[in-house]
């Protein structure tokens, strides 16, 4: 739609004017070329900056981690796969679970797993402390993740009363009021806390093993974790049960059993004895 009138106007006006519409085909072609160029640029940049495939197979491991990798490649690789990437249908990837998770699972004997079932059971550990540390170091260096603080006593300065309240709010739903554990659905369960060490409880809260939720440092601050550990270790485990034999602390179910097995049985024998003396 150019006309003579246009030519008479100034250059500026002509520049501001929309250029003559190109055909639809040319416009499409231009867009495709620009897209391909952008993609090539991004892909090229990625190839330049991304680590090479060689680097993934041989990460720079420290000495302990290398020892851990050796152990891993013998005992864990069947289910967790090469480089702990996991095997479909057998074991999850361990990238990012952190040393805390390894420490909990291995030191409590849950890993290596005895068999595939709803949940791992506690059993005597297969690896000693040194080996557990090496495995933990390996997994930590592979993918990072939460780490349990140093030391065996993680309940220093723990406030038992505060810990008790936190325990009742956060833990007793599954582990029960006495820490004896409880059932979850389909064969899963919350285990008894009585054999657990400070480090294992801490690691469990950090890593959320099995069906347990994660209580990261944002949910429970480290000093609150110390309070909870203090309550479990000092009150639940060392409470002397002022009322006598605690019947397993299973609540009213064993109390009901006791009244029949002890009370009613004793008194039925007493009535047999009394009625027999006639």
């Amino acid at each position: 739609m150019t006309s003579d009138n246009d030519r008479r106007r100034g250059l500026l006006a002509r520049l501001r004017e929309r250029p003559a519409a190109r055909s639809r085909g040319r416009r499409r072609l231009g867009a495709a070329v620009r897209l391909i160029a952008a993609l090539m640029l991004a892909g090229g940049a990625y190839t330049v900056f991304a680590p090479g495939a060689q680097a993934q197979d041989n990460p720079q491991l420290t000495g302990a981690a290398a020892e851990g990798k050796a152990l891993f490649d013998v005992s864990c690789v069947t289910c967790h796969g090469r480089n702990a990437q996991g095997v479909e249908g057998r074991g999850p990837s361990l990238i990012g679970v952190g040393a805390a998770s390894v420490e909990f699972q291995v030191s409590s004997g849950r890993m290596p797993l005895a068999r595939q079932e709803a949940q791992a059971h506690r059993k005597p550990p297969v690896f000693n402390d040194e080996q557990t540390r090496q495995l933990a170091q390996y997994i930590q260096e592979l993918g990072g993740g939460p780490v349990v603080p140093e030391g065996d006593d993680l309940r220093e300065d723990g406030n038992i009363a505060a810990g008790g309240e936190l325990f009742r709010i956060n833990c007793s739903q599954c582990h029960a009021f006495g820490g004896g554990g409880g059932a979850l659905s389909s064969g899963k369960f919350a285990p008894s806390l009585h054999p657990a060490t400070d480090r294992q409880i801490y690691a469990a809260m950090l890593s959320g093993p099995q069906n347990m939720p994660v209580f990261g440092d944002n949910q429970l601050r480290p000093e609150q974790k110390a309070d909870i550990i203090a309550y479990i270790q000092e009150t639940l485990k060392h409470d002397q049960d002022p009322g006598g034999f605690n019947l397993g602390r299973y609540g009213p179910s064993t109390e009901g059993l006791a009244i029949f097995l002890v009370g009613i049985v004793a008194l039925v024998f007493a009535s047999l004895w009394i009625a027999g003396k006639s």
Partner: protein, 543 residues
């Protein structure tokens, strides 16, 4: 002045005469003291409930001295360190004080709780005895109804008591109770807000439950127990059939002195067992449950055993909601059926059973003689059915504990309960019925053929036969069998019951009773001690 001689031996008599002169009690007392009670161990089961009720009253009075039934918030500063500084209700704080700071408080609290469990257990066991022996039949239907009501009133007493300490467990129970009340169609929300004084938990429920638990319900229990015992007095106790016992008499011991002494002794035994349990077995450690907070629910939060069947029925009930499109829409929640309808049916069926059975059997006679369970197979089988129904529900009420401790899937436990609830009772009916018939048949067999002696005799023609000891002299039957009728009581089935092997030796550690010297009538020769017997052997000595 001559001193009057004080005759000690005559004092009680004189005092009694003095009392009788003033109150004229000799005649009614004589009747009372001479009242005869039949003697059988199973008649003492109800007394266990009665005596544990007495213990409940005694320990309960002690506890009220120290319990503060208020929900005002206080900060605990008692001697249980793990709760110090924790805000809680005054009720919970005073329960903790009873447990830790009142001298003897914990043992009293535990005795009270064990006595409550025992009270309910003894009621149930006594009820089973009454049911399986047919003691509820005419004329005692009223007492059966009162007994069943005693169970339900005891149930309420137990539940209100369970709620009083206001710990995590009792609060969880109360929350469930409020949910049950809410599930009642139409009136649910009104009932709940009237009971709790508004929304759950409110601030009034502990004081309300307290007055119900220490005054209203015990009053009702005392009233029902008095009527129950009064009716036993009035209608006289049932007895087993046996020599000299008929439908129209009572054979047994006089109230005084033997029966009264035995009962006194039995009270001491019941008290002792409760005290032992209170001192040895920890029950309801409220300090571990912590104060009740709506967001705190522990695993293994169960009610006491006699409520557990309702917990079980709730766990087994599928989540079937019934929407009713009236007005804004209305829903009958699934909780309504297992916790309101089911107990309603159970109350109705259990109280009305005597009339149902009499109607079914067209039986309008009075029965003062008991029936052995085997002699009424249908009733025994129905009872077994009811018991198995109750047991499946009760086990399901604890199914999370069972699943966890026996490492079974909780889902499997739930399904086992659902299927078991439908399958086990009919199975129990069938098995019990067959067992009863088998036992009946064996009784008749022994009456007809005699007791098995274990002696095998070889006949001249080479046959072997077992020698039976007939129970009665032959009366002309060719095979040497006498004819005895079944009288509804134990048929001797072992040789020593017939005197062939001498009586079993009594006493826990050493024989305490010599064989009774039989009174010798002049016409009979004196009874000689039985000759020493030797084991029958081959004749060869091993030495």
């Amino acid at each position: 002045m001559k001193r009057r001689k004080f005759d000690l031996a005559a004092t009680p008599g004189k005092a009694a005469v003095g009392v009788d002169d003033r109150f004229a009690v000799a005649t009614p007392l004589r009747k009372l003291l001479n009242k005869v009670f039949p003697d059988h161990w199973s008649f003492l089961l109800g007394e266990i409930a009665l005596f544990s009720f007495v213990v409940l009253l005694l320990t309960g009075v002690f506890l009220t001295f120290f319990f503060e039934p208020a929900m005002t918030e206080v900060v605990y500063d008692g001697s249980y360190a793990p709760l110090q500084g924790t805000p809680m209700s005054a009720a919970y704080a005073s329960s903790l004080d009873i447990s830790f700071d009142v001298r003897g408080g914990l043992v009293m609290r535990q005795m009270h709780h064990w006595a409550a469990l025992l009270f309910m257990a003894a009621i149930v066991v006594h009820m089973l005895r009454v049911f399986f022996t047919g003691a509820f039949r005419k004329p005692r239907e009223t007492n059966w109804i009162i007994g069943s009501l005693l169970f339900w009133v005891g149930f309420l007493a137990g539940f209100t008591g369970y709620s009083l300490p206001d710990d995590g467990l009792s609060g969880t129970g109360l929350r469930i109770a409020s949910a049950i009340m809410l599930s009642i169609p139409v009136i649910g929300s009104w009932v709940t807000s009237s009971v709790f004084g508004g929304e759950f938990p409110g601030t009034i429920i502990i004081s309300r439950f307290f007055i119900a638990h220490v005054l209203l319900i015990p009053g009702l229990l005392v009233a029902l127990i008095s009527v129950h015992l009064g009716l036993v007095f009035k209608q006289k106790h049932t007895q087993w059939p046996g020599p000299g016992r008929t439908n129209n008499n009572v054979v047994g011991e006089r109230m005084f002195p033997r029966y009264a002494l035995k009962q006194g002794g039995f009270f001491m035994v019941v008290f002792g067992v409760i005290a032992l349990m209170g001192g040895l077995f920890q029950i309801n450690p409220i300090w571990l449950f912590g104060p009740y907070e709506a967001w705190v629910v522990s695993a293994a939060s169960q009610p006491d055993w006699y409520v557990m069947f309702l917990d079980g029925s709730t766990r087994l009930m599928p989540a079937w909601e019934i929407p009713i499109p009236i007005g804004d829409g209305y829903v009958i929640p699934p909780l309504f059926w297992p916790t309101v309808v089911l107990p309603g049916i159970l109350v109705g069926l259990s109280t009305m059973y005597p009339f149902l059975e009499a109607r079914h059997l067209k039986d309008r006679k009075s029965h003062n003689l008991l029936e052995r369970p085997r002699d009424a197979p249908a009733r025994t089988a129905v009872g077994a059915m009811a018991v198995s129904f109750y047991i499946v529900l009760t086990l399901s009420g604890a199914n999370d504990v069972i699943a966890d401790k026996f490492q079974i899937s909780l889902n499997a436990m739930t399904w086992a309960g659902r299927i078991g609830l439908l399958v086990v009772p009919p199975l129990a009916y069938y098995v019990t019925y067959r067992l009863c018939l088998g036992l009946q048949q064996h009784d008749r067999e022994v009456l007809a053929h005699g007791v098995e002696t274990g002696i095998i005799r070889r006949m001249p023609d080479g046959r072997f036969v077992e020698v039976h000891q007939p129970l009665s002299a032959s009366n002309g039957h060719a095979d040497g069998h006498g004819q005895l009728d079944y009288v509804g009581w134990v048929v001797p089935k072992k040789m020593n019951r017939l005197g062939a092997l001498g009586p079993a030796i009594r006493g826990f550690f050493y024989p305490i009773e010599k064989p009774v010297e039989a009174p010798v009538s002049p016409g009979h020769p004196p009874v000689e001690a039985r000759p020493e017997r030797e084991e029958i052997g081959s004749g060869e000595s091993r030495r």
